[in-house]
Symmetry: C2
């Protein structure tokens, strides 16, 4: 069972990679159990300057103990968990796993952070045998993973149930929320939901009902905080009173259906993109991400413990 | 300008009415400035037993000073603000305003809490003259209004800008977030957004990707807390890095478009309703709404002050 003694190797030191590093380092018995492999020539300076931004000050001292490597073979040799967050490209990911299986321990788990390339296709293109494919699955974070609890765990066709259990229990022990998807689907669940709302938001701004900033304000003062505490089904189950969700649809299903039928069908690449991007730039400029993340952590705490 | 000395009359003592009462009573110089009018015979007992649930214990003593009435004419005579939350029915609302204008002061504001019946149609069916129609608009809360800050302010065709300004400043002084919609549209904004996400959530549960409880968990641990702090446009503006929202669409617009094209087209009244309602009932039974509201308040505080 992966635990605080697990050795973890992160393949790829981009934003997601370092955010995962920040999450792991806080839970390991020693930071030397964490290895980051990346071929960028400035890896050492880059990790040293960037990673502390994601860490509580008390943990800054651990950064220099993390193992850094530019050799995948060397980096995965003693790892129990190998987590990749490379480019969103099937050929790249398949090449990583093809190389990883040659050097990794026979019971190491393989986690892909992809937001859409299925474990099934990764295993297939990498030519993994059944024993290796059984240990590969998708662990898709909601960015940034050192802040956001959700991890979408998506099995490939040959992923074993033991791999799923080891993966879920690893994350639960780290106060994360792994949710296992029962089917591989395009874009997984969280992004599909968010994009569905985004489409309607784009439509309404494009129609001139509200602007970008007003739209965000609406979400921040209504469904955002509500859904931080109770998701949409739970909320509408309450909304339906004694009748629950069925009561909700009996009472206002007509309005729901009218809104669905009237929903905007905007597409990426159309006129609105420039207008709306411009509005966002004017409204927000450069966002203070550290401030956002601090507030998000406080919100997560409040939802849990209030 | 409406202020702490305003006299407020609430027409309709349902859940929304009492939630608004709880909000108002905390900001008035005296609870006697608040009148609740409703024809239910047990109005006094009902308000006395229900309203304290929405109030901090320190305010419970104010409940008995609220004026109660079963006469609309009497209740609106000295009011500066008349807020209706009656049945969601155009004929009903029109009849209320038709009667209200006969008895109200000539500068009183008329607020409808409707979730979809436009001020334009209410003024028209009520046969309001221009002076009265200028003072009528929609102030649509996100339930329950004593907790959720959002108020969608939706003008009718004849609503005056002075009415909008008085309305918005009233709510801002009460730490609420009034957002003025520039156009009347079906379902207004917040519900349209939430319903768009709900449709995709229903589709994915119906497809068996996750169940109702897992779906809620996904939202509660990802976009819920994120959007409590930064709405969707602001979030994706950050997600696009230096390129902002345009960068976001350049980087992953292909995936966004694929998800939009693959989105579920479920309809109200189909098979899924029974299955999903059943799942919600089994998962949640009777939800502790006071607990939910306490957590929601804590989340709102955290998003603001962390």
């Amino acid at each position: 069972m992966p635990d605080s003694k697990s050795r973890i190797t992160l393949v790829g030191a981009g934003t997601i990679g370092l955010s995962f590093a920040a999450l792991h380092v806080a839970y390991l018995a020693s930071p030397t159990q964490l290895t980051i492999v990346d071929t960028r020539p400035d890896l050492k300076e880059y990790v040293k300057s960037t990673l502390p931004k994601y860490l509580a000050p008390a943990l800054h001292g651990l950064v220099s103990s993390i193992r850094l490597s530019d050799s995948l073979a060397e980096a995965v040799r003693d790892a129990d968990l190998i987590q990749e967050q490379g480019p969103e490209n099937l050929a790249f990911k398949a090449a990583v796993w093809k190389d990883v299986v040659k050097h990794a321990k026979p019971d190491a788990l393989f986690w892909s952070s992809t937001s859409g390339i299925t474990a099934t296709s990764q295993a297939e293109v990498a030519g993994l045998d059944d024993a290796a494919a059984a240990r590969l699955l998708v662990v898709h974070p909601y960015n940034p993973p050192h802040v956001m609890p959700l991890l979408e765990v998506v099995l490939g066709a040959r992923t074993s149930s033991e791999t799923v259990e080891r993966t879920a229990s690893f994350w639960r022990a780290r106060q994360r929320e792994p949710v296992v998807l029962k089917k591989e689907c395009k874009g997984f669940v969280a992004n599909r939901l968010a994009f569905a709302l985004l489409r309607e938001a784009v439509h309404l701004v494009n129609e001139g009902v509200v602007n970008v900033e007003e739209m965000d304000k609406i979400v921040e003062t209504s469904m955002g905080p509500r859904w931080a505490v109770a998701g949409p089904f739970k909320s509408y189950h309450v909304g339906g009173g004694a009748g629950g969700l069925e009561g909700f649809f009996t009472n206002i299903g007509g309005t729901v259906q009218e809104c669905w039928q009237d929903a905007g069908q905007v597409n990426v690449g159309e006129e609105w993109e420039k207008k709306i991007s411009q509005q966002a730039r004017e409204a927000y400029g450069t966002v203070d991400v550290e401030d956002r993340d601090r507030k998000t952590k406080a919100v997560l705490d409040a939802a849990k413990t209030a």
